[in-house]
């Protein structure tokens, strides 16, 4: 989906919420007028209740309008989350109105009062429940089309209004049936239902705001899409989170380690295209391409003596008399070899000589305390990874830290030549 299409989609949702706001205002107006003309307090009270409907419709309208804004420096992920915040407001209002209905219905049960059946009240209640039902259908449809939680929540809010208006008719029935407490009971049930609905929506909204991964099936879908692309060796660390109606995703992709950057770039481009094609709601997609893991790593550590894995670690690089080369296999096996650093005795460019020695021995990783600029470039040009030895003195500890990926990368010391 292109940015324009996304904005259009949000615009569609905003228009639906706007229409719903106008309809709700008109409905409230009818209630006020009918209430004043007929002198029905029930209708006036209902009109006051409709204010909360206007409020949530307005919140969703504004939310969807704001979420159309283009990403800025300040909000580099765009404004889609405003839609989620509007959803949260709807959830809070729904829960609060459920609580209110619950309290009022309790009062009814405790003090059952005679209900006045004014024709005006009944007519308005009938209109109100019909309109609310149509609003429910409308918002539910547009909410599904635009994948907007806020509109879907608003649709449920309207459905609750249908029930509340229907309650007035129920009151008449139970009056003739001679069960004055039944209306209160029905009210309590509606109140409880509304509270549950509001809390459920609130939970969904908070989960989205907390960056929860609510659609784990997307992870397996992305995994299989990436695996179909030629040259992909594996994927890991797929993270998916929601923002308004859209999805932000990131994924680590492993490709053949012998590749060049432009080849790897083509692969990540192909994956991105396929994912965007099949998962339309993806907005921000971050692919981190990395070389597939090797079966074996050859790690070099400068040492002061030739005592195998018990040798004392050297804090020098060029001046170090020996290097221990440890082959760390994926299956846990390891072997080692100590090589003498002949360059240690020469006067100049000792570091370069040592670096060349390591490159000759096809070392993958060097763990050292410091390295000069010359040798640094020699090693990096041969794709040797450099890690900081720090204060470590035991070879075992270094290997352990390497396996746990706890080592920090090392750059050249500026003063060293």
């Amino acid at each position: 989906m292109s940015t324009e299409e996304k904005i259009q989609l949000l615009g569609k949702g905003a228009r639906a919420a706007k229409a719903s706001t106008y309809v709700t205002i008109a409905l409230t107006g009818i209630k006020v007028v009918a209430g004043l003309l007929s002198g029905s307090i029930a209708l006036l009270a209902d009109a006051v209740h409709s204010l909360s409907d206007i409020f949530t419709s307005l919140a969703v309208w504004l939310g969807m309008k704001l979420s159309q804004r283009k990403p800025s420096e300040r909000f580099s992920y765009g404004f889609y989350r405003v839609e989620t915040l509007a959803f949260m407001i709807v959830a809070i209002v729904v829960a609060a109105s459920g609580f209110q209905v619950l309290l009022a219905s309790f009062n009814r049960i405790v003090n059952p009062s005679a209900v006045a059946f004014a024709p005006a009240t009944l007519t308005v209640a009938a209109i109100s429940s019909l309109v609310s039902y149509l609003l429910y259908r409308f918002k539910s449809r547009v909410g599904n089309e635009t994948n907007s939680q806020a509109l879907q929540g608003e649709a449920k809010h309207s459905l609750i209004d249908v029930l509340s208006s229907a309650l007035v008719f129920a009151a008449i029935l139970v009056h003739y049936a001679g069960l004055p407490w039944a209306e209160g009971i029905a009210g309590v049930l509606i109140g409880l239902l509304t509270i549950r609905l509001g809390l459920g929506m609130g939970k969904d909204a908070v989960l989205v705001l907390l960056d929860a991964c609510l659609r784990p099936e997307l992870i397996s879908q992305m995994k299989s899409i990436a695996a179909e692309v030629n040259g992909v060796r594996g994927v890991h660390e797929i993270k998916v989170r929601r923002s308004g109606p859209f999805i932000f995703a990131e994924m680590h992709v492993e490709v053949d380690r012998a590749m060049r950057m432009d080849e790897a770039d083509a692969i990540s481009g192909a994956i991105e295209e396929r994912i965007r094609d099949s998962i339309k709601e993806v907005d921000s997609l971050m692919l981190h391409v990395e070389p597939s893991k090797k079966d074996m790593y050859r790690i070099a550590i400068p040492v002061e003596e030739d005592k195998g894995l018990h040798s004392r670690v050297s804090y020098h690089f060029g001046k170090s008399p020996y290097f221990i080369l440890i082959d760390l296999h994926e299956n846990g096996l390891r072997s080692w070899l100590v090589v003498e650093n002949h360059g240690a005795k020469i006067e100049r460019k000792r570091g370069i000589e040592a670096a060349r020695l390591l490159v000759q021995h096809k070392v993958d990783v060097l763990v050292a305390r410091e390295v000069g600029e010359g040798p640094y470039h020699v090693l990096r040009d041969s794709s040797v990874q450099l890690f900081d030895l720090g204060e470590e003195s035991e070879i075992e500890h270094v290997l352990d830290a390497f396996s746990k990926k706890e080592l920090r990368s090392l750059t050249y010391a500026k003063e060293a030549a």
């Binding site: 909000f75 404004f79 705001l209 929860a212 060049r260 790897a264 770039d265 921000s284």
Partner: protein, 297 residues
């Protein structure tokens, strides 16, 4: 010590601060209730009830920080840092409610200034409570700044509002003695204005954090410079920085020469991540996409 440990220590410090301040507030509330019952002062009992709101705020921030400490799970792959922002937002809502209540009370008094009973014990407790709240406000603000926790900082404003409120109690007695009845409601209006202002400022910050806001432009720029300053990096685009609780998540597309070997490009990307995380301790995760330079120039 790994970067993760450093963050845990920061959060742990915040948890200690909020736990201690909750404890102090509970003791304060009990003290008010006991003195209120013994002296029969309704004002003190009402104040004790108000302190329960303070305790609630303190507990919520404590819970938020504790949740933030949790390791990422399948459901929450980015961790729980944003729980702190949600909790800060809840405290802001509590503060708005408190401010509205103070405002309502003061407007009522403006219309019908009531006779306030002058009991030395009420004044003594108000002064004591004011000092305790002031100390708590300072304590939480300092810790909140150190670990850049929105929750602790809004809690600090909450305590400061309590200081003002205690001052109001003492001031009202003084002014009523002097026979000036309009000062107290006016002061209450000013205090609730302060509460609204603090709640809205921090509420805005928490909402922005939940909307993936960037940290200050200066930090963003510094991160960009750090990335571009890495050897072999030709450029950076699509830099996305977002706050999550006290931490920062970074995503960037880093441009390199297309002929570079992937192994080398990856090593450079790793170095970029290390440099950023080394320089900006609050950065929690950095994800780098390596792209070709020519394409974007």
């Amino acid at each position: 010590m790994s970067a993760g440990d450093a963050k845990r220590i920061l959060l742990q410090r915040g948890i200690t601060v909020s736990r201690r301040s909750t404890f102090v507030l509970v003791v304060l509330s009990i003290a008010k209730a006991v003195v209120g019952l013994l002296s029969g002062s309704i004002a003190l009992l009402a104040d004790a009830a108000h302190t329960i709101m303070d305790i609630a705020g303190s507990v919520i921030v404590w819970l938020g920080l504790r949740l933030s400490l949790r390791k990422p799970t399948d459901l929450f792959p980015y961790g729980f840092y944003k729980a702190e922002s949600v909790c800060a937002l809840i405290v802001c809502i509590i503060m708005v409610l408190t401010g509205a209540e103070i405002l309502r009370d003061s407007i009522e008094r403006l219309y019908g200034p009531s006779v306030i009973s002058f009991r030395p014990v009420v004044i003594a407790v108000a002064i004591g409570s004011g000092f305790v709240s002031y100390f708590l406000a300072r304590y939480k603000e300092r810790a909140g700044r150190e670990i850049s926790s929105q929750g602790l900082r809004i809690e600090s404003r909450h305590s400061f509002a309590d200081v003002l409120n205690s001052g109001l109690v003492c001031g009202s007695v003084l002014f009523t003695y002097m026979g000036v009845s309009w000062v107290e409601p006016l002061a209450a209006v000013i205090i609730s204005a302060f509460i609204f202002w603090a709640a809205l400022t921090f509420g805005k910050d928490s909402i922005f954090a939940l909307m993936d806001v960037s940290p200050q432009p200066a930090i963003r720029k510094a991160i960009e410079e750090t990335i571009v300053g890495t050897p072999e990096v030709k450029g950076v685009h699509a830099l996305k920085v977002r706050r999550a609780g006290p931490f920062i998540f970074v995503e960037a597309h880093v441009e390199m020469d297309g002929r570079t070997s992937l192994e080398k490009a990856h090593a450079i990307a790793d170095e970029v991540e290390d440099r950023v995380q080394e320089k900006f301790k609050e950065v929690d995760s950095t994800t780098i996409h390596v792209g070709i330079h020519e394409k974007h120039s």
